[in-house]
């Protein structure tokens, strides 16, 4: 089984059950085990019975803050378990006036990074029965016995270059903080793409985007895509055509990414939820990199009080075009 630590699950359960059963919150957003041991899906807990299912392991990658948009329609006060990225997502929603701070109680969970099942089976090289974890190492239970691996090598892409594993906002911090990280390879792929010629880059994106099914899972998972009406569903004018062709793929992906300029919290949920593995995060990171270069370092979601770069300006701003 994939259980990491029964103690830590119990600690989380203890903290939230007081509030849920005592009526301080109507709903708790957490995780429960899915159909397979390597899946942890969102849990919507309303009772003590529900809380029995609570999970906190290395597969709780789903960003829970996004579910607030729907759930706040039916609940007055919601408790949410937040990792570093969930907390930044909450700040994002807060800045967009999609939630109010007093509607939500946040239970902070400093996050060691979540594991990637694909990397696990690749490492196992065959049927993988389960994993156990200790001190930064993962022990894979395979048919022929056990195999050991470094935890850092098995992380999800979105966790590999995570810089802020600790929640930036919380009411109660349940474990000791992990501390800020470096994330040195965060812009590596972006820089590699920037080195290419325009033709090569276009070819790269045309190929990657050609897989797009237009399922909009990236949008549904995204904490910055909180518009009640999205441009892809607008009928008049109908910006986004339904046709399957490169032109429409570029239209969707460029505008989706662009709407996150200075707003994307770099949680990587879009890319993780993509069923055809389009490297969406590279588009988002390109915009983060450019905004940082042009208008000063800004990490979206770290501080809800700080104004996002596209909502403000300075008279002496630089431009990416000639101003003569």
């Amino acid at each position: 089984m994939a259980e990491r630590n029964i103690e830590s699950v119990n600690k989380v359960r203890e903290a939230v059950s007081q509030d849920l059963l005592g009526g301080r919150i109507d709903l708790l957003l957490g995780w429960e085990k899915g159909h397979y041991w390597w899946q942890s899906r969102p849990l919507f807990a309303r009772s003590e019975e529900d809380l029995e299912k609570l999970a906190w392991d290395s597969f709780c990658a789903v960003n829970l803050s996004r579910y607030l948009l729907e759930e706040l329609k039916d609940h007055d006060k919601i408790g949410v378990l937040v990792k570093g990225c969930d907390a930044r997502a909450f700040n994002r929603l807060l800045q967009d006036n999609m939630v109010k701070r007093d509607q939500v109680i946040l239970y902070g969970l400093p996050c060691p990074g979540m594991l990637d099942y694909n990397r696990l089976i690749e490492k196992a090289g065959g049927a993988l029965l389960g994993i156990t974890e200790e001190n930064g190492r993962v022990i894979l239970n395979i048919e022929s016995g056990e195999q050991e691996a470094q935890r850092d090598d098995l992380l999800l892409d979105k966790c590999k270059d995570c810089r802020y594993p600790d929640p930036a906002v919380y009411d109660q911090l349940l474990f000791s903080p992990q501390g800020e990280k470096e994330g040195p390879e965060r812009f590596k792929t972006v820089e590699e793409l920037e080195e290419m010629s325009a033709e090569e880059r276009f070819g790269y994106w045309e190929k990657e985007l050609s897989r797009c099914l237009r399922c909009y899972a990236c949008r549904q998972a995204c904490p910055f895509c909180s518009c009640r009406e999205c441009f892809v569903e607008q009928e008049n004018p109908r910006w986004q055509g339904r046709a399957y062709q490169p032109s429409e793929n570029f239209m969707f992906h460029l505008v989706r990414a662009y709407h996150g300029t200075g707003r994307c919290i770099d949680c990587g949920e879009c890319e993780r939820s993509c069923p055809v593995d389009i490297p969406l995060q590279e588009l988002n990171r390109k915009l983060i990199k450019d905004i940082n270069e042009l208008y000063g370092d800004y990490e979206a979601g770290l501080d809800a009080e700080q104004e996002p770069p596209l909502l403000t300006y300075r008279p002496d701003d630089p431009a990416a075009f000639s101003e003569k």
């Binding site: 972006v190 429409e248 570029f250 460029l254 208008y295 770069p309 300006y313 101003e323």
Partner: protein, 155 residues
């Protein structure tokens, strides 16, 4: 590629869409006209209330429907009729320009310029130089809607 060559052989002319701010650049175009300056007829001007009105969707839609180049023109920073419209668009369009370049567009395809209402000569100059640059680059096929039919040239 063959389509591009055919177009050149048939005397291809670029189509440039220019979004001009009502208060400065559009008036600059007017001045160019009343001063009898000439600039290429390849440029089709669309008037917007302010460069801050620019929605990046306008630009991408232009590329989908046959534009070979897009030029956004607005008041000089500090001169905006609405005080801060062009300051906002400077940030937005800078990020957007870099994004379309990242997606594989040549940098010349999308440009932003500040042209005031007294700069009729600059208006004519910018439109001419943009047309020349796009002519040298050739027709744009990137993001062109496969169903779009050219009305200005036979493909």
């Amino acid at each position: 590629m063959s389509a591009a060559l055919n177009e050149t052989a048939a005397g291809w002319e670029p189509l440039i869409v220019s979004f001009c701010c009502n208060w400065c650049s559009y008036a600059g175009g007017d001045l160019a006209g009343t001063s009898r300056m000439s600039y290429p007829a390849n440029v089709k001007v669309i008037r917007v209330p302010c460069s801050g009105r620019m929605n990046p969707l306008f630009v991408l839609r232009a590329f989908q429907r046959g534009a070979d180049g897009v030029l956004v023109a607005g008041c000089h920073p500090g001169d905006c009729h609405y005080t801060s419209g062009n300051y906002q668009s400077r940030r937005r369009l800078s990020a957007f320009k870099r994004l379309v370049e990242f997606a594989g567009f040549e940098p010349e395809r999308f440009e932003v310029r500040w042209i005031s209402s007294s700069e009729g000569d600059k208006f004519a100059e910018e439109m001419t130089s943009m047309t020349e640059k796009i002519k040298a680059l050739g027709p744009n096929r990137k993001m062109r809607d496969a169903r779009w039919q050219s009305v200005t040239s036979k493909v």
